[in-house]
Amino acid sequence: MRHATTVVIGAGHCGLAVSRCLAAHSVDHVVLERGEVAHSWRTQRWDSLRLLTPSWMTRLPGNTYRGDDPDGYLSVPEVIRFLGEYATGAPVLTGVAVTSVQPLDQGYLVRTDRGAWRARTVVVATGGSAAAARPSVPLPPGIPTVTAAGYRNPGQLPDGGVLVVGASASGIQIAEELSRSGRPVTLAVGEHVRLPRTYRGRDVLWWMDASGLLDERWDAVPDLVRARNLPSMQLVGAPRTLDLDVLRRQGVALVGRLAGARDDTVQFSGSLANVCALADLKLGRLLDMFDAWADRAGVEAEAPQRFAPTAVPAPVLSAQLGRGGIESVVWATGFRPDLSFLEVPVFDRRGRIVHDGGVTAAPGLYVMGLPFLRRRKSTLIDGADGDARALTAHLVDHLDTLARRAS
């Protein structure tokens, strides 16, 4: 059996950032990666995807984007290349899938498909998007379905109508692409976060970053459960706004949340107007906050503006599956972590990992890359730096405590 002070599971941006911080503290460690570096980026992203954050926000400990288009948005191959270069020199073992993590008297036993490791501490960096979540709505056989993780391009789907379920970042982008491919697209819209790409002449992510919104801490936010469960932002990695109005003008049929399916009919909630009103009001409050901050901070920017409320089409409460109606379904209903290998009692009754800013109740066991782990930006690449530094500091303290106890 091999031994490391710390085993990091996953060589995505989080695992690599932690590795960089551990190395800076001279903590001997190994990063176990089931596939290659940036595995999810290689296997679970559609062809046209670009990062939603501008390239200047691609900042990891010890490495920041230095290309010639800081205001652009990295393509998936560019992200893979960036992370591949970032991994140079890191103790990454690729092609090693962790099958279980079990507690030992001191530390953990990490079993893999290529042998076991003992470690004092474990950092789980498999991310919040390891598995696509999909609602348990039974569809009749013969309707092809794909999740946002399995979707690559429109050619994957049959001709004819497509129902895209979910109107967050993945859903709106996939709906637009499918609509451009000539397919009639129906988009089922639940609660969503409406955002313009730019505000007052600057990228909306610039406003979020500069105003401190993305730095809000998990232990200071009023309703953490809600904050951790917010849908992703309606953004596309391009210098243009992609929201429900744009999609509607492009011919996408907007309907309410997918409510159920009966026989060969899908049913949609009658709540579309309210989820749009909620998103419009929330956007207004966000822009109010930006403007107030800009006044206080003396920011020079274009004049404030407000966006018209989302135009809500006449309600459509059901649609025909098959026979010239909806011929395929894309589940863009979010992602969830897959921590099924973790055989440590750190889960709540619904199987969600319990942690305090990434620190679990099991001494020496840490988790990274989950929504609002320590900051609002924890799910962004830009969030990994602060989270990795903070968790590494905690981990090093823990190792010091163990060492003192032993001496």
Binding site: G256, A259, G270, S271, N274, A277, L278, L281, G284, R349
Partner: protein, 184 residues
């Protein structure tokens, strides 16, 4: 604006306390609501509501509430009470308005008056079986709120939107619900 001087008569602390209690004992959040409906004559029925279950125990209203259900004279009925579909409007308006008060309390907004005008469109071809293309139920429901409160328009709109988001009756009406009717 502080919560200490705002009083809409909603015990938000108790509601938040319940949410905390549910975290420790999720089973006590499972409720059952009941009504016993007896036919009287013609289209007239009386509905009684007194018991329910929840918080892990049998529960009871402070008294038995009785409601007459009937149809108006225009339907060749005796109009002993409002129609079933009007009870649905009562339920929706009552639920949303309770939500407005509760959300306002939590957000520190003092309400002075709240009135919801609830209306629903319905085509009788449906229930009379005269046109299979027409559904039995409402083709649409409108709720128009008149709110006088210590808040600006955006805050009031947010109150009303949040109330819909958390409303049981709104959910019941906007989403399909499995209904099982049996004969004992």
């Amino acid at each position: 604006m502080t919560t200490s001087v705002v009083d809409n008569g909603v015990n938000v602390a108790a509601l938040l306390g319940a949410r905390e209690a549910f975290a420790d004992a999720p089973e006590i959040a499972r409720f059952q609501w009941r009504s016993s409906v007896s036919w009287v004559h013609g289209t007239h029925s009386t509905a009684e509501v007194d018991t329910f279950a929840g918080f892990g125990d049998a529960q009871r209203h402070s008294r038995t509430f009785t409601f007459d259900v009937d149809h108006p004279l225009q339907f060749a009925a005796e109009d002993h009470g409002i129609t079933p579909v009007e009870y649905v409007l009562v339920a929706l308006g009552g639920c949303l308005t309770a939500g407005v008060a509760a959300v306002a309390q939590q957000r520190g907004i003092q309400l002075r008056s709240v009135r919801a005008e609830v209306s629903a469109e319905m085509d009788l071809h449906g229930i009379l079986g005269a046109d299979p293309e027409v559904r039995n139920g409402f083709s649409g429901v409108r709720v128009d709120y008149h709110v006088d409160a210590d808040a600006d328009r955006a805050d009031i709109e947010a109150l009303v939107a949040q109330s819909q988001k958390r409303s049981a009756v709104y959910d019941i009406m906007t989403n399909p619900t499995a209904v099982t009717v049996s004969v004992s």
